[in-house]
């Protein structure tokens, strides 16, 4: 049954541009893909290390600005831009992770939120580099050189959809690989009981730094993809709203699960867009806040684990009562 669901998902996601005619609907799917990457990246920290980063919009924004600036000012290829959009936030993640050293819980949150605050202020005030609140328009689209076809610009939504889908699959693969590796087991051990894990030789700081690097790099990739899709970045990419949206996607979807963040990202991009006609953006954010609280009260593990358990219960052979 699980396999059937998987095949259906692959077919649906793989053929979407062929049956989603409406450009706006396709746009929503592309944003869902970008947010899936962001949510997966946050989940590596929140779900697997138990540390909440409230500065994730900073990694996302640094990625977006990096690729935008490299392609606009230095006219580098967007592919190189995207690569550096992963590396530079990863470097920032390394610094944050090193600085955090023994800071856990609320202190880690405060460190990351302060980092995001400073980066955001820099993006507004460093006019020479970022053009401040005016933002950077006219970011070049990604081009793909195909054998026999020459350079194809991924300007169309359909083509960009496949680029984002590829990135989502790649990010999912990276997460899956990490979680099932020694690193993933170490992170879970640290989350559950740090002193015990350290007593058997797991170096807590080392693994937290590693997780922060990967998580930040992934968020940066999301930022780069966003920049070349909307082709405009402004200090708004650092808005706290982005971080909050990621947190809700992870918590509601199911933190500490592989599929949870993706499910959360799709739900919380598609549903708000569907509601847009009926409710203003403020109502949506109000609803986000209430939903976050309600999830923690009534479904603290998130949608995916609850559904998975319900599913397992349903299909489990009933023990016969004697």
């Amino acid at each position: 049954m699980k396999r059937v669901v998987g095949v259906v998902l692959v077919v649906v996601a793989g053929t979407a541009p062929f049956w989603v005619w409406n450009a706006y609907h396709l746009h929503t799917l592309i944003m869902a893909g970008i947010f899936s990457i962001l949510a997966m990246s946050l989940n590596l920290l929140l779900g697997y290390t138990g540390q909440l980063s409230l500065g994730h919009a900073a990694f996302f924004g640094i990625g977006a600005y990096t690729s935008a600036l490299l392609t606009l000012k230095l006219e580098w290829s967007p592919w190189v831009g995207l690569l550096v959009a992963i590396l530079l936030p990863a470097l920032a993640g390394f610094v944050i992770g090193r600085l955090a050293l023994k800071l856990r819980g609320a202190y880690f949150v405060l460190l990351t939120i302060s980092f995001a605050g400073v980066v955001s202020l820099v993006s507004v005030n460093w006019m020479a580099l970022t053009q401040g609140p005016l933002g950077l328009p006219g970011i070049p689209p990604v081009e793909l050189t195909l054998p026999g076809l020459g350079a194809v610009s991924l300007r169309s939504k359909g083509a960009y959809y496949y680029l984002v889908l590829g990135a989502v699959v790649l990010a999912y693969g990276v997460c899956r690989r990490l979680v099932h590796s020694r690193l993933g087991r170490a992170l879970v051990a640290l989350r559950e009981n740090e002193p015990l894990a350290e007593s058997v030789g797991v170096d807590g700081t080392h693994y937290l730094v590693l997780a922060t690097i990967v998580s930040a790099g992934m968020a940066g990739a999301g930022g780069g993809l966003y920049a070349h899709y909307t082709r405009f970045v402004s200090p708004e990419v650092f808005l706290f709203t982005y971080t909050v949206t990621m947190v809700i996607m992870v918590v509601a979807g199911g933190k500490g699960t592989l599929a949870g963040p993706v499910v959360g990202a799709v739900i919380f991009t598609v549903v708000p867009e569907a509601l847009r006609a009926f409710a203003s953006w403020q109502w949506q954010m109000l609803l986000y806040g209430i939903l976050l609280i309600a999830t923690l009260f009534f479904m603290p593990r998130g949608i995916v684990p609850e559904l998975a358990d319900g599913w397992a219960d349903h299909w489990r052979p009933r023990p016969r009562t004697p």
Binding site: L103, Y107, G117, Y288, L292, L296
Partner: protein, 290 residues
Amino acid sequence: MEPLLQHLLNGLLLGSTYSLLGIGLTLIFGLMNVVNFAHGEFYTLGAYVTFAGLTVASVSFVLAIPLTILAGMAVGAACERLLLRPLRAASIDTTMLVMIGLWIALQNAELLIWGGVAKSVPTPFSTQPVVVGPVSVAPLRLFVFAVSALLIAAAHLVLARTKLGKAMRATFQDRETAALMGVSIERIHTITFALGAGLAAAAGALLGPVFLVYPSMGDLAALKAFSVVILGGLGNFAGAAVGGLLLGVAEELGAGYVSSGYRDAIGFVIIVAMLLCRPSGLFARAERVG
């Protein structure tokens, strides 16, 4: 020389409200162990209640402040009762996420009610500055400082001299023993949170007329409150009072001598520097963090 004196004075006057914010948060974060990201929303609430009191109900400014504090305490008590009490056994991370949810919900509720346009609060004070020797100061700012000082003193007396204050300190030191001594633990939690929220609302009531009132004004206020608490040390009342003044002075000096664009970065820089060098605060005895 004169600009320096002026910056120092402005910093102290502004810092007194940061002290109020910080003391409120140090009660909630330091004593109750709740990472209250909604703290800034009680500040915003205070500013809007004062604005509504002055413009809609047209009460006097002096009367509006105690009313605002009562409103802040009432909303704080309700939040504690509804959101935190059922989660008493939950981890600190869960309550933190709940408070983030509350923060977003309250902020956008304010946005829906009042709209995004910044409002200025009319006060009876003249905008003509009082000149004292080399420095000048707006009468409103002097009033803000006086009321802040009064409220800080009152909060200190409640905590240090009353039976309620003793019960609060006992509860957060050792809840089981306090309960055995007949302290109603649940009530103390609610009262402490209400007190913290009330102080934040008071800061909003005082700073709202100095600056402008808008729905997201609480975001920076919350982070400033956190930097004050970290400066002073978790749960350290005097530390938060001094930390607030220090932050105010640091901001004024930074805005005056470095760059006004980075004024709000100072709180962030303080958080980072303190967490890295002295995570238990400037004045604290050695304490484990995290």
